[in-house]
Amino acid sequence: MTANEITFYVISGCLLVAAVLAVTTRKIFRAAIWLLFSLVGVAALYFWMEVEFIAAVQIVVYVGGIVVLIIFSVFLTQQTGKEMTRAPLVRIISAVFAVLLGFLLTWLQINHAAFTPAGKPFNWDVQNIGSQMLSTGKSGYALPFEAVSILLLAAMVGCIVIALKSPDHSSNNHPTDNHSPNKNNIE
């Protein structure tokens, strides 16, 4: 087993363990940290695959952006030290069952497909990515780029509208709702 291989297994192992912990630990802050580790692990995997650019993007966006965002929202909404309530046992059991079954099925299919590597070296460079990203010709990605920019704009506007506390309603701590909770049920 080469060092390369060992590195892979170590990274993968850490990544998966961190991921498992991220979805099982009962302290939310720890969960966020495990998630961070897991995402870093993914970045490491990219490094291992020699796709450094993506690894960088991964770290910048996820670690620098999303995880921070998550942690902020944790602070905004929760006492960090408190243990989270566990889901009902039935749900956990069925989730385990469903997930295992799903994994099994998926893995069976993937394994069965027997992909044959092309055996060619993977040549990419940032410049290439950059020029393709803004090219409108064949295998150019200008249009997706524009689309995603609109998406980001829309998401931003949406976030502002939703998350910003409107000053007029600051006093309104008890949201009103026209419906009593059970009105939609006819028993």
Binding site: A87, R91, S94, A95, A98, L101, G102, L105, Q109
Partner: protein, 641 residues
């Protein structure tokens, strides 16, 4: 030889009366409705008599027989190339005779009704219905097509229904009208089935063609109808028996007679017309019309004979015990029609067709004296306002004309010479004597009974003890008395018509063969009956009661009309309503409808049962999502490939 010009008027005139009086009788003919109806009928009667004169005496015989003449004929409803209902007018001896009888009796009843029904609010309606009846009856007798008979058969049933229920606010009248219609309708079902059977094999609905084809032993139709069979009985027997069932219903033959006594709820003149003289003999007329067919089918003829004889006897027995004047007359009618029936039953054709002639003869004479009896009873009821004989008595002093005519009628029905009944009844007795001694014995016995119960009635009404009611009123106007006298005259004279020369089974005339010596026994029997009645009922004595008591159970059974009504009631109420109707309605509402509703209810149940799936928890939703994908994967990768 053209009859069409005026003969169609005979039925159409009463119809005009019906339409005219029915549509605008209330507004236009408030008082004159009766006059209008009567005048129209008067014209019809004149035409009928003229027709008879022309038929029998002007046109006369062709090749020694009176030819059937189809005076008018058009296709009314076509079923197929061979089967179609034709409306037509067929003149032959019996239909011409019936024309006369119907129009004449109807005219008498019309006139009588002018007095009888006066003051009634629905005066116009009454005459309209009478018109309708007369029209239907005429249509029936002149029918050339079997289905035409059926059509008018139903229509006379309707008129009967309407007239019985004329006093519609009396629940008993309503019930009686209902009963009459339903019982006859039941019988009509038989008639209809008979028509279906005969027409299918005979491939025609025309009476003449049918008779001609099915009596021709070489015709394919004859072969078909005699070879086809169901339950071991040939189609011909089935068809004729079924037709006879229809006739028996209309003619109140045992056991379909139960409607007739109840039908007396109608106005008495109506009873005289419909339930004595005309409609009830339609059954006899029907059998006579198809007589050649019956004749070749011995089985059905036996049925006719037996039913006729049994009816005659039973009705006479029951009549002896009844106290309602009209009911006695009703049973008497039934008994007399029984006579006519078995007379047909024992008849042969050709030279042997005495029974046929006798039957028709009796039909003819009976029409006069029985309507006379009813009208007499009507006159009495008009005065007494009761049907019960116990309210009458000693009326001979107060109602002399009625008394006299009633006596004539009683003598006529008892078969005392020289009244009309004597001749016709002797002919029947003679025919049965020649054919079957048992029938003859029954007939003779019944004849005695007839004399007994008629004179029982006579003595109870006109002699016996005078009641208070009897003294209250006078006899009534000329309008009431006139028809009585006319009919009495007919009852006396009708017997002298040489009937055999006009009517016989095959159209060939034959002389009446009754010998004087043969008549002795029946007359004696009748006289014995009369004397017995006189002894028991002329004065008020305890004898009748004692006699009844000594007869005990037998008397009770007869008094309760053999419990036939109760049996019917049991069948209809308990079986039809409770065992079929009610379950049918229940099943429909609860099982079939319940099934339909059940489907809806089950859907809604399921809907509620599965609502928990939509739990409102987004994690479960995602789990279902994954579950769905996995299930699809399993199905399409492993199961459904």
């Amino acid at each position: 030889m053209s009859y069409a010009s005026y003969i169609a008027l005979i039925p159409l005139l009463p119809l005009t009366g019906f339409v005219l009086l029915g549509l605008c009788g209330k507004t236009m003919f408030k008082r004159t409705a009766g006059i209008v109806g009567t005048v129209l009928l008067f014209i019809a009667a004149i035409l009928a008599i003229y027709t008879a004169w022309q038929y029998f005496f002007v046109n006369g015989k062709v090749n020694g027989v009176y030819e059937p003449v189809t005076a008018l004929h058009f296709q009314w409803l076509s079923f197929s190339e061979t089967l179609h209902i034709d409306i037509g007018i067929l003149l032959d001896p019996i239909s011409v005779m019936m024309l006369v009888v119907v129009t004449f009796v109807s005219l008498m009843v019309h006139i009588f009704s002018l007095g009888y029904i006066k003051g009634e609010i629905r005066f116009a309606t009454y005459f309209a219905f009478l018109g309708l009846f007369t029209f239907s009856m005429l249509g029936l007798v002149i029918a050339s097509n079997l289905f035409q008979i059926y059509i008018f058969w139903e229509l006379v049933g309707l008129s009967s229904y309407l007239l019985i229920g004329f006093y519609f606010d009396k629940p008993s009248a309503v019930a009686a009208s209902k009963k009459a219609f339903i019982v006859t309708r039941f019988a009509d079902l038989g008639f209809l089935a008979g028509i279906l059977i005969l027409s299918f094999y005979g491939e025609s609905l025309d009476t003449g063609t049918l008779v001609q084809r099915l009596t021709n032993l070489q015709s394919p139709q004859y072969l078909a109808v005699t070879t086809a069979s169901f339950a071991g009985i040939t189609a011909l027997s089935w068809g004729l028996t079924m037709v006879f069932v229809g006739g028996a219903g209309k003619s109140a033959m045992f056991p379909l007679h139960i409607w007739l006594p109840d039908a007396m709820e109608g106005p008495t003149p109506v009873s005289a017309l419909i339930h004595a003289a005309t409609m009830v003999v339609a059954g006899v007329y029907l059998v006579a019309r198809l007589f050649p067919l019956f004749y070749i089918n011995h089985a059905s003829l036996i049925v006719v004979t037996i039913i006729g004889a049994v009816s005659a006897l039973l009705a006479a027995l029951i009549a002896c015990t009844q106290t309602d004047i009209k009911r006695v007359l009703a049973y008497s009618t039934m008994s007399q029609i029984g006579y006519m029936m078995f007379a047909l039953g024992v008849s042969g054709t050709g030279d042997n067709s005495q029974g046929y002639t006798a039957s028709m003869f009796h039909l003819f004479t009976h029409a006069f004296f029985k309507s006379l009896l009813f009208l007499g009873a009507g006159a009495i009821i008009h005065v007494i306002h009761s049907n019960e004989v116990k309210d009458m008595g000693g009326l001979r002093k107060y109602m002399p004309v009625t008394h006299a005519t009633f006596l004539v009628a009683c003598l006529a029905i008892s078969g005392i010479p020289p009244f009309a009944g004597f001749f016709s009844k002797e002919a029947i007795l003679h025919a049965s004597f020649l054919s079957n001694k048992l029938i003859y014995a029954i007939a003779l016995f019944t004849s005695g009974l007839t004399a007994f119960y008629m004179f029982r009635l006579y003595f109870l009404i006109f002699w016996h003890k005078t009641t208070e009611r009897a003294q209250l009123h006078n006899e009534g106007s000329f309008i009431i008395k006139g028809p009585l006298v006319l009919l009495a005259a007919c009852s006396v004279l009708a017997g002298f018509i040489p009937f055999g020369t006009f009517i016989s089974a095959d159209g060939k005339p034959h002389e009446s063969a009754v010998e004087f010596s043969f008549s002795v026994a029946p007359v004696l029997v009748s006289l014995a009956g009369i004397l017995l009645a006189m002894w028991l009922y002329k004065n008020e004595t305890a004898l009748p009661r004692k006699l009844a008591a000594s007869l005990g159970v037998a008397y009770r059974i007869v008094f309760r009309k053999l419990y036939i009504d109760e049996i019917y009631l049991f069948i209809t109420k308990k079986i039809l309503f409770n065992l079929i109707g009610r379950p049918a309605a229940w099943i429909d509402r609860h099982i079939i409808d319940g099934l339909m509703n059940g489907i809806a209810a089950a859907t809604s149940k399921i809907s509620f049962a599965i609502k928990g799936i939509q739990s409102g928890k987004v994690q479960q939703y995602t789990m279902y999502f994954l579950g769905g994908v996995l299930a699809l994967t399993i199905v399409f990768l492993y199961l459904w490939t």
